[in-house]
Amino acid sequence: MSRQITPTGPEHLQMPKLRAGMDHDFYAPRDTWSVPRLDFGPDVHLGIWLQIAVEWFPLDISGQPFLPIGAPARPWPDSETYTQRDYGNRIGIYRMMDALAARGMTASAFLNARVAQRYPILARYIREAGWDVVAAGLDAGAIHHEGLHEDTERAMIAEALSLLRAERLEPAGWHSPSWSQSTRTPRLLREAGITAMADWANDEAPYAFQTGTGTIASLPAAFELSDREILFARQARLADFEANITAAARRLTREAADSGTPRLLCLNLSPWLMGQPFRINGFERILDMLGGIDGARTVQVADILAASLDLRNG
């Protein structure tokens, strides 16, 4: 039976943020598609930013305020899920690292600080691979959200940065677990000295994001094309995932040629998914397809920031 509805109050007719522009003060609207936003240098038409999610899902994730995609969700202790995710840090990531190294490609580690703390050997291999590090919070279950006290959130950020630095990893940027922020997160990141974050999925090029105490660069945060969205949440076949990426690369390459300005393709990939033996050939095929595009090159945070015409022009 349809449940009975509850009346709404007068606030549902009020529109306090109705004005030209956004309904917040973080950034102004802009046209990223038809206005040049990027310049990677004369020979690069397609920047490829591989965001490798290096995550630890604690066995006792609270689920507050929501359970992250991929979190252990069976009755405690869900050792099945826990250990399958941990496979990514032991086995899967090395397959991906080898595949990238063999092709002379780089990536960014979207690294949970507690992975570096727990597995310093992995932190060392990431460093030696030449990947840059995007601090991805404390762990996959440490969600930044409005219900946290500001001091708690500030301490989470400080602890994450401190754990990474203890492993001689200086973050080039920040990513919040599950792409979740409170209204305070950008400001707290800025106050902690972070200059770039990849949480907002609204753009294909960086832009200046006003935190309230200075700006931070908002980097593209690919979610629609992530393996956890397409392979895990949507349960697509590997061939379909590959076809999606091929379609995106083909489209962006053509737009780059038509507009005379480069495009950026972001791929967020998880070793516990793409590093599996039955999928790693798919990962390699994706890299070969991307590597075969004339004028395509893998980029990292510093390259993307340097390529941003908007950030360059202040």
Binding site: T32, S180, A201, A248
Partner: protein
């Protein structure tokens, strides 16, 4: 746009259908009779087209910090929800422009399911759509404001605010799609009383149909689509791009074949933050090319479908329905 008029003091409004107790609730929507496709009088489109094909871009704004409707949470995870807010904001920075280009290139106009607050937040987009000859119809204030729980007076206020906002861009508000399809049983009548001509809230037919909103108004349903709709295709049904394209072509091909005997409508409802992604946009272009490769297709706006139907077929259908059921003149 001025804020809609303040609500009437009828909160609770127990006479409204939404508050009838189980057992006393109507068991159907009460505003259309059964009408089998078999035996219907032929619906003829201009140029004897088989299919009236229209695209409904949903140009929406989802609020950063919406008031939370007690009957439907605006965001799936938490509020605010950066991932879901920013993904939808992709419409206004990238996706909208990809969609507009592919449609304009093929000379296909959109009939826009518009969160009317976009008239204030992103007026450049609205001007561009008007310049392209696209129709604007209302999809409510924001797509984070639902009709669930709204009093009839509040619903009327939203309709008036929509007329005002779209009117500022030189268009008359003729059509309607309730945000997230959350109308009450009274909503369609309120639309007709406010002077609107068609609704997209009903999914019961492949042709427009008269809707009984009382003797004083001629009001029609125009087929929108919850099936041929990028969010259900890609996100509810988990379709990869190739399967989406195959599905869209199958829908069109079947309706085109059936349209040889009796005119059909095909609507494709789209969201720039979904279909405007680089991995999906070429499938949209390829589908439009597929449609364009057929010659007996009419490319109207929803308003034009409703107007053509009202002028040429409304009375025929009403007469036929009267004969069919005996008790309706």
């Amino acid at each position: 746009m001025p804020a809609p008029d303040s609500p009437s003091p009828i909160a609770g409004h127990p006479t409204e259908s939404a508050y009838l107790p189980p057992g006393a609730r109507p068991v159907d929507t009460g505003d259309y009779p059964y009408a089998p496709m078999r035996g219907r009088p032929r619906l003829r489109w201009p140029g004897d087209a088989r299919v009236a094909f229209w695209i409904a871009p949903n140009v929406e704004h989802y609020e950063w910090q919406p008031p939370v409707n007690p009957n439907r949470t605006p965001y799936p995870r938490t509020t605010p929800d950066v991932l879901n807010y920013s993904w939808r904001d992709y419409t206004h920075r990238v996706g909208f422009r990809r969609i507009v280009e592919e449609m304009a290139k093929r000379d296909i106009r959109g009939s826009v399911s518009l969160s009317v607050s976009v008239c204030d937040h992103f007026p450049d987009e609205v001007r561009q759509m008007c310049d392209l000859g696209w129709e604007l119809f209302s999809h409510g204030l924001y797509n984070t404001r639902y009709f669930y729980g709204m009093s009839l007076e509040d619903q009327r206020a939203v309709i008036r605010a929509s007329q005002e906002a779209i009117g500022r861009f030189g268009q008359r508000l003729d059509g309607w799609l309730t945000p997230a399809i959350t109308p009450s049983l009274e909503t369609q009548r309120l639309l007709a009383e406010a002077g609107l001509r068609y609704t997209l809230d009903y999914f019961h037919d492949d042709q427009p149909m008269p809707l009984d909103v009382g003797p004083d108004h001629r009001f029609v349903t125009v087929p929108y689509s919850i099936e041929m709709n990028d969010i259900p295709l890609a996100h509810w049904n988990n379709m990869a791009v190739d399967e989406m394209l195959t599905t869209l072509k199958a829908q069109f091909d079947r309706l085109y074949a059936e349209g040889a005997e009796n005119g059909r409508v095909m609507c494709f409802a789209i969201h720039p933050f979904v279909l405007g992604q680089p991995h999906r946009i070429d499938a949209f272009a390829e589908f439009l090319d597929h449609v364009k490769s057929h010659d007996q297709v009419w490319y109207p706006t929803a308003r034009e479908i409703a107007a053509h139907y009202e002028a040429t077929h409304y009375d025929t259908m009403t007469d036929w329905l009267g004969q069919l059921h005996g008790d309706r003149a």
